[in-house]
Symmetry: C2
Subunit: 420 residues, 2 copies
């Protein structure tokens, strides 16, 4: 009987949410359904590997209607829930046989994990343990991160939509910052603790050459307060409204984060140290130095969870990456991550290829120093050529009663339509 | 000759930007063009009455193409620039004859000012001065504010789009806040120093009954820290992820703003007092009291300048309010504001009517106390019935290269297309 050869898929989401991590989940489920002779059920871990350890798991093949599946594709955040859970380094930990026992109980043949470099570490450990044990389960990583910091891939699913959100929002904030005719500095703090990819996207906000944001600072360059003061002074001489974009992770030449410049003695009314961002620190600095109107804005979690300006390219690539992971697993791949290679030539084209997850996990791809201009305050046109294809294309959002409709898990564990 | 009877329009924008203040400007220009026998040119003050005092003024009739005019309608922030400028209380100030001299030089017959209650104060003063002088210039206010705090009108243009942005964004942040399976509190701080209208819109974010945001606090109720601790404790017992929405302007029973609870001794490294929001203060409080994961998010200026989730209803009403202002001026009205009256009956319908600007300027319409539930932590369904029609309808945004295209003034003072 052929039936006995069928294996099930187990898919999970891990790490921080993105606008399109669910599009990759959609890709896994949709591709899974296309191979009824080889694949039985697609199961989803609830809250990643951590939840799976507590048997939190749902059947994704049965409970999502075709309409819900389409909605999943454009729903931000992580439908299955996520975790930040590091498996033990020691492969002789009791956790590994426990996990594999659970995998066998569910007749899992293909384990797909959607996440960033920490999640690739999970894929790596499980596949190494499995290999030792002679397990036939295949472990595949599907990349996801707004930080765009995974190595061995042209870019990561999630980055295009986040970059688009940043560029569109900064463009709007520049319009807002320009309405008054007075000297004013607006500092926009963007996500990216170690890599400046997302902050770099703010350069795309410019409507024309010489437009705001006039100054852009990434964590890859050393940040110097006095140089910053000079930069702002020169910018204010050029035009009254100056918009500055900084990464949350800018640091000085000694590696001290600018957000740590905050007075060490500073505690709040409740006796705790207040957590301050780099934007807030620079806001205070500029106010005390120049006495001009200053405002700092932290773009915050909308960068990773807004579904309002999805990049169609990013959404479709994320779905395709999920599907490519299933195909690769069926073809025998394991301990691999789905990577993207950009084809040479004038038009943008992406090929999927499998890369050794060992080469990717726990690594970071920094923003190229040669794309930061010599002044350290601007991004070169090579970046725009790289990034513009990634933010291209619009998604027609599903709306009801004036608000976006999203798919979410109801408390019973099933799938429910997120509606008013 | 009929020509000599023609008068010109002068239109300005004042106060904080909104997503649709330019739609009202569009309405003024478009309506102005419809009366070629009575109206000559539509001039725009650059940076409101303050700019006009320095002769900053552009011809809006000639320099905007039909395509640009359409783009103006969906461009957020203030195309003409804005100001926060209060005219002298003393009508014998030399400023008044100066302004009227400039108005006469430009052959202005109709002065239209788009703004909130401070701007209505400008309309009031100019019309009072004009009346004394026997001037025939008609002064009309066109309402605009995301705060929805103008009296004598059902709601204000700008509120619908801001409320929609708040509801949609909070809905997305709730999805984001729910991905991890751990106790966590997310505090979202919303605009509205004295009136809670915008914070109330967060109730529309709920996907179903009992959904987040579980707690909503408006400035209209006294805020008590200990009661807040009880509320949060109870909410955390119900579910692990608790989202709280607070207005920036919540204050205690003595009228002290919660954002002022910040330790008075707290200065930054540069010797200045750090400015902290109510969300940040509550974040510290919850962290010290409960030791759970807490994050505070300030929605910030995107509430007023995002063009990504415009309400079509709001945009069309804003344009119609601008047109109604021109019509009223032509019909002889002066010292009046365009107001909106909601028709009785089951379907939503708005009638424009003119209201005495004297009754409106320098007043604030608070959120009705009877729409705040007895616990002071929730909003009653009457509000949703009031607000849902205002956020209804989508606008097809003009996009290019993956980013929104907006109209903006080039430095030469003309109109230029905001493109990459």
């Amino acid at each position: 009987m052929k039936m006995t050869h069928k294996k099930n898929i187990l898919v999970g989401q891990s790490g921080g949410p993105t606008a399109v991590i669910n599009a990759s989940l959609y890709g896994v489920i949709a591709e899974g359904k296309k191979h009824p002779e080889e694949i039985g059920t697609v199961y989803g871990m609830v809250n990643g590997i951590e939840g799976f350890l507590h048997d939190a798991c749902i059947n994704l093949s049965d409970h999502l209607s075709p309409e819900e599946l389409e909605l999943l594709k454009q729903t931000p955040a992580a439908y299955l829930g996520s975790c930040r859970y590091k498996l033990p380094e020691d492969l002789s930990s009791k956790l590994y046989p426990l996990i594999f026992h659970k995998l066998e109980q569910l007749n899992i043949g293909y384990f797909l994990y959607i996440g960033g470099n920490d999640s690739m570490d999970t894929v790596s450990k499980l596949s190494r343990y499995g290999q030792c044990q002679g397990s036939s389960i295949r472990f595949i990583g599907i990349p996801k991160t707004i930080d765009n910091d995974l190595t061995n891939t042209d870019h990561t699913p999630g980055y295009g939509s986040a970059a688009k959100y940043v560029a569109a929002t900064v463009r709007e904030m520049v319009l807002d910052a320009s309405v008054y005719h007075q000297k004013a500095v607006t500092i926009i703090e963007l996500m990216g603790r170690h890599a400046g990819w997302l902050t770099a996207a703010s350069v795309l906000a410019r409507k024309e050459a010489g437009d705001n944001p006039l100054l852009i600072y990434l964590p890859e360059s050393d940040f110097d307060l006095e140089q910053f003061a000079c930069d702002v002074k020169a910018a204010l001489e050029r035009q009254p409204s100056v918009v500055v974009c900084v990464s949350e992770g800018i640091s000085d030449k000694n590696g001290v984060f600018i957000c740590e410049y905050d007075n060490a003695a500073q505690t709040d009314s409740f006796g705790h140290k207040m957590l301050t961002g780099s934007g807030k620190v620079l806001e205070s600095f500029i106010r005390s130095r120049f006495g001009v109107k200053v405002r700092s804005v932290e773009l915050n979690i909308s960068q990773r969870c807004s579904g309002m300006v999805l990049s169609r390219t990013d959404m479709e690539e994320s779905a395709a990456a999920g599907a490519a992971g299933v195909q690769a697993a069926l073809n025998g791949a394991t301990a691999q991550m789905v990577a993207m290679k950009r084809a040479d030539g004038p038009s943008y084209e992406i090929q999927f290829q499998m890369k050794d997850v060992e080469q990717i996990c726990n690594q970071e791809k920094k923003f190229p120093l040669e794309w930061i201009t010599r002044s350290g305050t601007d991004i070169s046109p090579e970046y725009a050529a790289y990034a513009l294809p990634l933010i291209e294309g619009e998604v027609e959002r599903k709306m009801k009663d004036g608000l976006p409709v999203y798919l979410y898990r109801t408390r019973s564990g099933g799938g429910g339509l997120c509606q008013n």
